[in-house]
Amino acid sequence: MSAVVTDHEHEHHDHKPSGIKRWLYTTNHKDIGTMYLVFALIMFFIGGAMAMVIRAELFQPGMQFVEPNFFNQMTTVHGLIMVFGAVMPAFTGLANWMIPMMIGAPDMALPRMNNWSFWILPFAFLILLMSLFMPGGGPSFGWTFYAPLSTTYSGDSTALFVFSVHIMGISSIMGAINVIVTIFNLRAPGMTWMKMPLFVWTWLITAFLLIMVMPVLAGVVTMVLTDKYFGTSFFDAAGGGDPVLFQHIFWFFGHPEVYIMILPAFGIVSSIVPTFARKPLFGYASMVYATSSIALLSFLVWAHHMFTTGMPVAGALFFMYCTMLIAVPTGVKVFNWVATMWRGAMTFEVPMMFALAFIVLFTIGGFSGLMLAITPADFQYHDTYFVVAHFHYVLVTGAVFSIIAAAYYWLPKWTGHMYDEKLGQWHFWCSLISVNMLFFPMHFVGLAGMPRRIPDYALQFADFNAFISIGGFLFGASQLIFVAVLVKCARGGEKATAQVWEGAEGLEWEVPSPAPYHTFETPPVIK
């Protein structure tokens, strides 16, 4: 693939207002991408601060710093912020920045909607965070807001919680529509489906998952709202409803949601590993098929979150088999990455280090996922710290590590400067060590029988929890190095070339660094 870039002479025609108006009114995919990424970073630190509160309380047995009710608010809002405020907007930011540049499009297909889908997000989270200051505090029923804890037995912040989730959902749906329309309509001539970079493919599939399941989430929060305030009984047995119905609807959204947070990560790693191995991605076509099968299977496994709710044996068996099956396409992906490295000529810059850590640690999260799929064993793991360890391995060392890798990988393209490699390596090694101190011992704590979402615990768990908390504080502190790298890189540094990385291939590496405000106003020629 190669392209002829013809828009150098247009660079001085940028027509962007200056100051705050540039950011408020912008319809430029690069500006909007930057805003999404900065927003996600801020949310990552706010959600992280809540995790620090949780770990401080769990440092020692007994209640030290917060009340149980506030502890529950912290676990709930930490989850909501990290899922909807940090990971998802970060991926949308990357999509905004990179998809048009990867497929040779001048911008996203629906630029005004793009502006709107970003600018409603800060309000959604403002509402959610403000609810913490209400009398009785914010939502405290877990990010999964199981009824009837979130209906009959919740505080009045529930209304704000529902409203805020609605706004987040609208934002995600608009973002997803934009990605789909862009990829379908704005590919440069010659950019056929099977030539698209995997990041574009995985995001396309993610976008379809989003428009299919976000309305389900909107539906279920609305049912919570009407059950609580308008006298309906969807989830109340006394009125003919069923509390387990809530969990079916929630997880029908929730399980695809898990893949929404990991498929773009697969795309990122599939971009980074070939670049630094200087070798084409192994099994491109099978990667596309594996991603699609994971997306399809994600609609058939939701009840594996609910094995203890009491379902017929036949149901439990169906969901167990389908869940085990997901290991196959996921395995294919990991095998492909390893085969890509095999007999390459690797170098180990920071993006590659995070991508390698992703492959190993995400796979560990995958293994514990496979263990959780075994229904009889799941009865012992369910709702313990083993599950907490599992989903933090796939979400922190999985999704978050991939986002960090992506940031290092494309920073030179965004800013025109190389980041500080030494500081980046410090960030990597500090994060790698602390994140494993934080989450690996959680497997043992869970197997030994510590339930999740408890503010206080039996004495046998004390030593491990103290160690985990120290890991948590260190991981939190390590992310300050990341901010230092970002600030330093935005301000200046060694000038980056257009290709940036020796082994990098693709349209985004054929425009200058930093990428001009408008790229591909005339479509590139793709060989």
């Binding site: 009710n69 529950n72 505080g155 076509a285 290991a327 615990y457």
Partner: protein, 380 residues
């Protein structure tokens, strides 16, 4: 001043906690004490070793590649990027492994779900934040509450060996018999979990779930609620004592007798009047055990979630309304019905306490007969 005092409190308690913490934590899932829990442990270990083996191969190849195929060693990158043969192989092999794994898992699951032919049936009801056990074959039922004193939780006293895993009245089951549990809930979803039995089942309000166990070893087994159920989710443990069938028979008959006796006493009580002093002392005890979790020891509640009793219109002026809400709860809120949970004497005492503590100085006494009257629909 208060600040320095709390600091002085916390330092020695922290040190003390550190010495108690020496309790060893097992690093793996328990084998448990039942045939099923042993099977579950075996499944867990099988899938664990399978994961280790796959991990060793995949990570082994990856690290070998990282060491050997680095640019620094001057290697030239190969350009291959597909191989149908290899790709079919690494799709087919995992499928085979999974099928082999699914067979024993299916067998165990079917055995776990077979609740037929039980010898003893216990109805387990969760509520915020305690368990209630009812033996369906005997006239025995009781609540089981956390027995760890509040002072241990707030670090004012040293923590005991079974901190947060001890209850006032444990569930007792016979050894060698198939015990069936029927799970339900009075309010939100709870989950009844005893790791040693490999039993974890959600207690859903309005529905009944089933589980079973057969314990061969007499002993004390501890567990916890495993589904987030509100503020004190972390404080509703489960303790089960498995006794030989003879000891169990003796215990269950003793319990039936005790409950029958308490009921008879209740009747006698209707004709008696208790003094303010007695009512206040029984009331304070009951309040701490049943009411303080929500309405707080200070009676001030938690604004926005749990209403204050201190200075509340109901506690100052509306005695029948007060008795009624304690007896029957308030639909659509966390306020439970205590008619079944507490004796008439305790209800009378706790209402008296709430009407006279924290400056609610109404001076009014509530007697068991008053409570009984409201219960019979003959309120004042």
């Amino acid at each position: 001043m208060t600040k320095t005092r709390s600091l002085r409190w916390s330092l020695p308690t922290l040190l003390l906690a550190a010495t108690v913490d020496a309790t060893d934590m097992p690093l793996n899932m328990t084998r448990g004490v039942t045939e099923i829990s042993q099977q579950v442990y075996d499944l867990h270990m099988t899938i664990f070793w399978i994961c280790c083996a796959i991990g060793a191969v995949v990570f082994g190849i990856m690290f070998w590649s990282i060491v050997r195929h680095r640019k620094a060693r001057g290697v030239q990158p190969a350009q291959f990027h597909e191989s149908t043969k290899v790709e079919i192989l690494w799709t087919a092999i995992p499928v085979l492994i999974l099928i082999l794994m699914a067979i024993p898992a299916t067998k165990t699951l079917i055995a776990m779900e077979d609740t037929t032919e039980a010898d003893v049936t216990v109805l387990v009801t969760g509520s915020q934040w305690k368990w209630h056990y009812k033996y369906l074959e005997n006239d025995v039922e009781f609540y089981s509450l956390l027995a760890t004193p509040k002072e241990q939780i707030t670090n004012r006293f040293a923590k005991g060996e079974n901190y947060l895993l001890e209850v006032d009245r444990p569930l007792v089951i016979p050894t060698g018999k198939k015990v069936r549990f029927l799970m339900t809930s009075d309010d939100v979803i709870h989950s009844w979990w005893v790791p040693a039995f490999a039993v974890k089942k959600d207690a859903n309000p309005g529905f009944i779930n089933e589980a079973w166990t057969r314990v061969d070893e007499p002993g004390i087994y501890r567990g916890q609620c495993a589904e987030l159920c509100g503020k004190d989710h972390g404080f509703m443990p489960i303790v089960v004592i498995a006794k030989s069938p003879a000891d169990y028979e003796q215990w269950v008959n003793g319990e039936a007798e005790r409950i029958a006796k308490a009921k008879a006493e209740e009747q006698e009580l209707l004709a008696m009047n208790m003094s303010m002093e007695e009512l206040m002392s029984v009331g304070a005890r009951t309040y701490t055990a049943y009411c303080a979790a929500c309405h707080q020891p200070s009676g001030e509640g938690l604004p926005g979630i749990f209403p204050a009793l201190k200075g509340s219109a109901m506690a100052l002026n509306d005695m029948p309304g007060h008795i009624n809400i304690v007896l029957n709860g308030k639909a659509g809120t966390s306020m439970q019905a205590y008619a079944r949970q507490l004796s008439l004497k305790e209800i009378a005492a706790v209402i008296t306490y709430e009407r006279n503590a924290w400056g609610n100085n109404t001076g009014e006494l509530v007697q068991a007969a008053d409570v009984h009257a409201v219960m019979q629909g003959k309120g004042e």
